[in-house]
Subunit: 483 residues, 2 copies
């Protein structure tokens, strides 16, 4: 395809996207397709000859759109927000059009330097320490793995250049809570620590935050047993309930053992743009790394996950390679992001952030985040004040964890009397909401019993959408009948 064909097709596609974004509120939120239905609409093999663009665009509409759960929908309250702001879509298109090769500074100096500048802007906006430096990773999963690999190598005095982790004697141990995201457990496994060496520290039963005294006890027991505490993953805004571990208490404790402190603020990081929310990471100054995802609430098209580190030299020592074909005369003077993560090659992801921050402006983004916090508090108030309904966790951010409890399901002191019946009830009404296509919420286990997460923060979600959701939840409960 040449530039003129691209021009014609590109204009068509831009119009299609503008129209699509406009009509999203009329689409069902949850995709209504069955397994295999999308694949069944596609031919068995690639076409030998070029097809006209109109045919591809028609298939986008016919095959793809019905197969996508509409997370840009104003009544999307599932998982976490996954906003893909149109300004960031343009930045990503610019990156594609440029077609730059991001393997070294030399291969695309602007790709490196715009990234340095923009992650610096966001460092300042989130009030992280001025000496920290950042890099864009794909996801929080990868960022956490990178942090744990760095922790592993620091704790073993860089075993990777000798016999590797398999040559180490005292088993390294890692600490977090059972409310940590599943990617933390995965990172522990992939980094080779082993499940037996992961400690899931007890949480406060009301706030679901890590109990520092339990962490201290676990560390002491491990040290006494000859283990070597290597890292703690501190959760600032857990997936289940947006719980916030007490970073300011954990950091000095970990420091006494030379442990790496990684802060997983994948969801909560966006809130740090609001000065009134910066208490979330009080104590971060002496941590080692922090990660958050602009591709969630902030609204940068994914994938876009920021990893900040106190000491990039350490990352580079763990990750660096230097083959002859990638060397250049300026190597000592420039940042080589290939040495700050797993992949050699990187997209020009910084353009998404650059476009979004410039085209939307910081104040408008802050206003949207405050709107969502207000909406969550409003919904929590409605739920709490309605008989039979309960808010199950502190509403720290924009997510409300709730349950409808029919008479007799829960004792006066909050003890679940018949978990099976209550679970069946919860799943029934949540499924009814979701399968209707009118809104999407996420069932989630809390203390072993199903609850429902309402995560507010789609770019288009206004107060009337939250009011409508609250009505839908109550209707769904009524229709699901007695348990």
């Amino acid at each position: 395809m040449g530039p003129e064909e691209f021009r014609a097709a590109g204009h068509e596609l831009i119009d299609w996207i503008a129209d699509y974004r406009t009509r999203i509120p009329q689409l069902p939120v949850q995709a209504q397709v069955k397994p295999g239905e999308v694949a069944g609409k596609l031919p068995d093999r690639a076409p030998a000859q070029a097809e006209p663009f109109g045919q591809v665009l028609a298939d986008l509409e016919r095959v793809v759109v019905p197969g996508v759960t509409q997370v840009q929908h104003p009544r999307y309250f599932g998982w976490f927000p996954a906003n893909a702001s149109l300004a960031s879509v343009l930045g990503d298109l610019a990156a594609g059009g440029l077609g730059a090769l991001g393997i070294t500074w030399q291969s695309a100096p602007a790709l490196t330097e715009v990234e340095e500048v923009v992650v610096g802007w966001l460092r300042e906006l989130t009030a992280l320490p001025a000496t920290w430096r950042g890099v864009i990773q794909d996801t929080a999963s990868t960022a956490c793995l990178v942090a744990l690999l760095a922790a592993r190598e620091r704790a073993t005095d860089y075993s990777e250049v000798r016999g590797g982790l398999q040559a180490e004697d005292a088993p390294l141990t890692v600490y977090t809570t059972e409310h940590a995201h599943s990617s933390v457990l995965k990172a522990v496994a992939l980094a080779g620590f082993g499940r037996d060496n992961l400690r899931l520290i007890e949480v406060n039963p009301v706030t679901y935050a890590m109990r520092t005294e339990a962490l201290a006890a676990a560390i002491e027991a491990d040290v006494a047993a000859g283990h070597k505490p290597a890292a703690v993953v501190v959760n600032v805004g857990t997936t289940g309930t947006t719980a916030v571990d007490p970073l300011a208490e954990i950091v000095p404790l970990a420091g006494r053992y030379g442990m790496w402190v990684h802060v997983d603020a994948a969801m909560a990081g966006s809130a740090l743009l609001l000065p009134e929310m910066r208490w979330l990471i009080d104590g971060v100054e002496d941590a080692d790394s922090l990660n958050w995802n602009p591709h969630k609430w902030l609204g940068t098209l994914g994938d876009c996950s920021l990893l900040y580190v106190a000491d990039p030299a350490h990352l580079i020592r763990v990750m660096s390679t230097n083959p002859s074909y990638l060397r250049s005369a300026v190597d000592g003077e420039v940042t080589q992001y290939k040495d700050w993560g797993i992949p050699l090659g990187r997209r020009f992801r910084a353009l998404k952030l650059w476009f979004q921050l410039r085209l939307d402006g910081v104040e408008a983004i802050q206003a949207r985040l405050r709107r969502d916090l207000d909406n969550a508090r409003w919904l929590a108030g409605q739920v709490s004040s309605t008989p039979g309904w309960r808010v199950l966790a502190p509403v720290t951010l924009q997510t409300v964890v709730l349950r409808h409890e029919p008479p007799g399901a829960v004792s006066g002191t909050g003890v679940v009397l018949d978990a099976d019946a209550l679970n069946a009830h919860t799943i029934a009404w949540a499924d009814a909401v979701n399968s209707s296509g009118a809104a999407l919420v996420t069932p989630s286990l809390l203390d072993g019993v199903w609850s429902v997460r309402v995560s507010i923060g789609a770019e288009g979600t206004e107060r009337p959408d939250v009011e409508e959701l609250w009505g839908l939840l109550q209707q769904a409960v009524l229709r699901s009948g007695p348990t």
Copy 2:
């Protein structure tokens, strides 16, 4: 930014990209900026208020374009091709416009199923075993790490669920050659094997391919010493010289020891679309995994790297997570790509491939690849038949490794007599070509002496561009004067 503002700005940006791609041949190939020059043009902080789109577009031109090495230029012969075909740019734009959330099948069924179908199309086009299944990863670096993690876990009977790699007794060993890409060494380090347990097997001095008998001897010595051979990374198309390790010999040997065989065909994979090139992977049927990068020669906008595995159940066992908030009723019936790699969330990358294959058509892509192979053979013929010039490695694909050898630099039998002088000469003329902006080539060490890689395969590179390059190389040598 709302849909109507997006529409207006999007049309402007599409026109800008079409114009930009048209004028690339007039731009210098290598970016002419100095370290810090791009960053110096940007403000210290993000704007509080939204800026007009015209201002951002002007900065794209003023700040970014001069800071990008033009790998889409017809006289780009550096590193490896990094084509970003305009059809794939449109597919990527469609993905951005959709803004789908790729965490589970349920979150975007089409994202999973279009990926399954399209990687299936490419499996068939590259004649990989019909039972193998594929997944899109970001880069070959990550794909190799995933393969080595899978190898590690298979060799330790899944130590990740117990004490991890650190609890293993017999050290696991990994095998490749010194011509393996730097990312292979990095993956060995990150997976925790340790540099001491990586064996760089001797290569044939003419073809730079792994010597199977040397591999057999190394494995036997390790077994005798109580080590446990875990994996071999077979290079099909090395970065230095596009050397091809003898897969058909290595696979049965590795099989006798239960080793994982990973095939790194990052560059060469595109050639597998040509039936006459499928000898490259003869013997692949009993290997475990193969990776190649459509974002190189094939021309899919990066990042887009394909990992095929013989047994996906094994990947899933190593990578799987199953938190309550990601469960759904269809979990047993669908593919969950989150369990096939490191990140939980994934972009809708399949659309890039889907658009490219449909809008360009397979036959046109095949014709382009054959054109590049022809051009490489032509250039190699010119170099070989010109006194003072030498082709240093077999031209297996589209890369020619060459050197100009002034009188007295090399003996009649090909022995380098004064490496320092020859290196200075090579670097001088290669730098002269690159800094001129007229073309880009990549200096690379071969047998410890600098050579120059001419990697043909930019989408716009036609025979006259290769002829012009050959003239530029000869002129640069003449101008660099006597050594």
